[in-house]
């Protein structure tokens, strides 16, 4: 008690200590071990040893650049789709939701109440060859008789879009909700058309939400392997599938760790460019 009084300045550090120590030990330190592993050579039989094996990186990139590009491509398309799908929805809840807003928001996060794998398996059922989506599309001629949806890149991108959509919709909603409707009215009073008022007032003010939502969707999407595994074939496999099988099935730890690092680096570079292009300093993010 007296000790606490005499060392008041140390109270915040005592509060922080257990939590931050846990994060340091099990989030920061593992990154070091991932780096070390990425430079190890060897196999399960002869054992693994650190050897500055930079070849893990060059081999990994030359062998798996296709999966890399595909991951970024799928994640990019899914992010844009999620943005286009959820912007009007977030707009609707923010400006037309009334006092049902929180209940409508609940509908957006409802998919999260079903275990990730189970809701992805549900898409397997929905898109399956004898499912109603395929038969309907076939009957109106949008899909040929032998064509499938399951096991195509369309299915994988659709699955990723669905699974991460709430990450896009929620930040969008938050930024739209904060907009004072009087600003939009003012623009209209000053003879801006509805479209112009949206483009010049609503959209710019919602950009912080677009920015946050895009990152929150893109990052997990680029590392995902569940959708490619359950809705695609090896021809749709993403970098996550490769890392997963190298770590857990093939025990090729060196390359698996190198791939994880390249994935992280690629994501950070893309975020850097994106932040620069969007100039979010001005947005106050």
């Amino acid at each position: 008690m007296d000790w606490l009084h005499r060392h008041k300045g140390s109270i915040p550090y005592l509060l922080l200590l257990p939590g931050l120590a846990w994060l340091a030990l099990f989030f920061v330190v593992p990154t070091y071990y991932l780096a070390e592993t990425s430079l190890q050579s060897g196999s399960l039989d002869v054992g693994y040893a650190f050897s500055w094996a930079w070849s893990n990186y060059s081999d990994a990139i030359s062998t798996y650049h296709e999966q890399f590009v595909r991951s970024l491509e799928y994640a990019g398309i899914a992010t844009v789709l999620a943005l286009l799908l959820s912007y009007p929805l977030a707009y609707f809840i923010a400006f037309r939701g009334g006092r049902w807003k929180s209940l409508l928001l609940l509908l957006i996060i409802a998919p999260f109440f079903v275990t990730y794998l189970i809701r992805t398996l549900a898409w397997q059922t929905i898109l399956s060859d004898s499912g109603f989506v395929v038969t309907t599309l076939q009957s109106i001629g949008l899909l040929g008789d032998g064509d499938r949806l399951l096991a195509t890149s369309t299915a994988v991108v659709a699955g990723i879009t669905y699974n991460f959509l709430p990450f896009m919709a929620l930040p969008l909603y938050v930024s739209l909700e904060q907009i004072d409707p009087r600003l939009i009215e003012a623009a209209e009073d000053l003879y801006a058309s509805k479209a112009k008022a949206f483009l010049r007032v609503t959209l710019p003010l919602s950009l912080p939400g677009v920015f946050a939502g895009t990152l929150l969707t893109f990052i997990p999407a680029a590392g995902d392997f569940i959708n490619a595994e359950l809705l695609g074939t090896p021809r749709q496999s993403m970098i996550g599938n490769v890392i997963q099988s190298k770590f857990l099935v093939l025990t090729d730890y060196g390359q698996a760790a190198a791939l994880s690092f390249v994935l992280m680096a690629a994501i950070l570079v893309l975020i850097g460019i994106y932040t620069k292009v969007l100039g979010t300093e001005r947005l106050g993010v």
Binding site: Y13, P88, L89, R99, L117, I118, I126, Y253
Partner: protein, 263 residues
């Protein structure tokens, strides 16, 4: 024109909600399906069989028990650690705040596969056998940040005068914390704990990397996906959905009622 635009947006929102909820409807519907073979893909007929025997398939019950045990332990520990960090961040000025925020923020934005792989690299290099406790360690790790954010949100609107009043009336810091601070921030802590529990039960990627021979419910589903998922998985999925949705709806309704009362 304005009328049309209004209805276009409403119609769109309706369609979007159908899209969001369709897979949930499928999960629930197929828990009543009576599949012919091992694969539960096409509707064959209605049955209550799987609901009468939800733990029928071998290993399913053990997987659910493992998931619940890990979630209970991990959310308990993460809630304590996260609440302490949130208290420090909101209530005290100290050097290293930026670094602390970064450390809290990073796990929420790192792809799960990278975190899972890093932890496995740690355990492999230290010769730690993966299993129940490595899953527990991993879950506490990724839950802490979410607890911090949730509890912080609640602490920001906190009136510190109440604590000062308690101290003025002779309460020592511990009594003040236990009798004034804790009851006031309890809803925030409860929300953080529930979120941590939900994240833990649902986690697949990080768990897959660090599970060793332990099988949680998502890992069970993953294994079953290759050979045909038994309809009982849909029963359990439906039950989890109902529990989570029920809690959230009750919470939202009580908020609506409270705000109506305030008006």
């Amino acid at each position: 024109m304005a009328l049309v635009r209004r209805h276009v947006l409403t119609g769109y929102a309706l369609l979007a909600f159908v899209y969001l909820l369709l897979p949930i409807a499928v999960v629930i519907a197929f828990s009543f399906n009576d599949p012919l073979g091992r694969f539960n893909y096409t509707w064959e007929g209605f049955t209550l069989r799987h609901w009468q025997d939800p733990f029928g398939p071998p290993g399913l019950r053990d997987a659910i028990v493992a998931s619940l045990e890990i979630a209970a332990l991990a959310s308990f520990v993460a809630t304590i650690l996260g609440t302490l960090v949130a208290l420090a961040l909101v209530r005290y000025g100290f050097r290293g705040r930026g670094l602390t925020n970064l450390l809290i923020f990073m796990p929420m934005t790192t792809p799960e596969i990278v975190m899972g792989a890093s932890l496995l690299a740690l355990f492999l290099n230290l010769g730690v056998a993966t299993g129940f406790w490595t899953i527990f360690i991993a879950h506490v790790m990724f839950c802490i940040s979410f607890v911090v954010v949730t509890v912080k949100a609640r602490l920001v609107g906190f009136d510190r005068h109440l604590e000062e009043a308690a101290m003025d009336l002779g309460a020592n810091p511990f009594t003040t914390f236990g009798r004034v601070t804790l009851p006031l921030i309890a809803p925030g802590i409860a929300a953080g704990a529930l979120l941590a529990f939900a994240l833990s039960v649902d986690d697949f990627v990080i768990t897959l990397f660090n599970a060793g021979p332990t099988i949680t419910f998502p890992l069970y589903v993953w294994g079953a996906a290759r050979v045909g998922v038994p309809p009982q998985v849909n029963v359990i999925g439906t039950l989890i959905f109902l529990a989570a949705a029920g809690l959230m709806v009750a919470n939202v309704l009580s908020q609506i009622r409270r705000s109506k009362g305030a008006m």
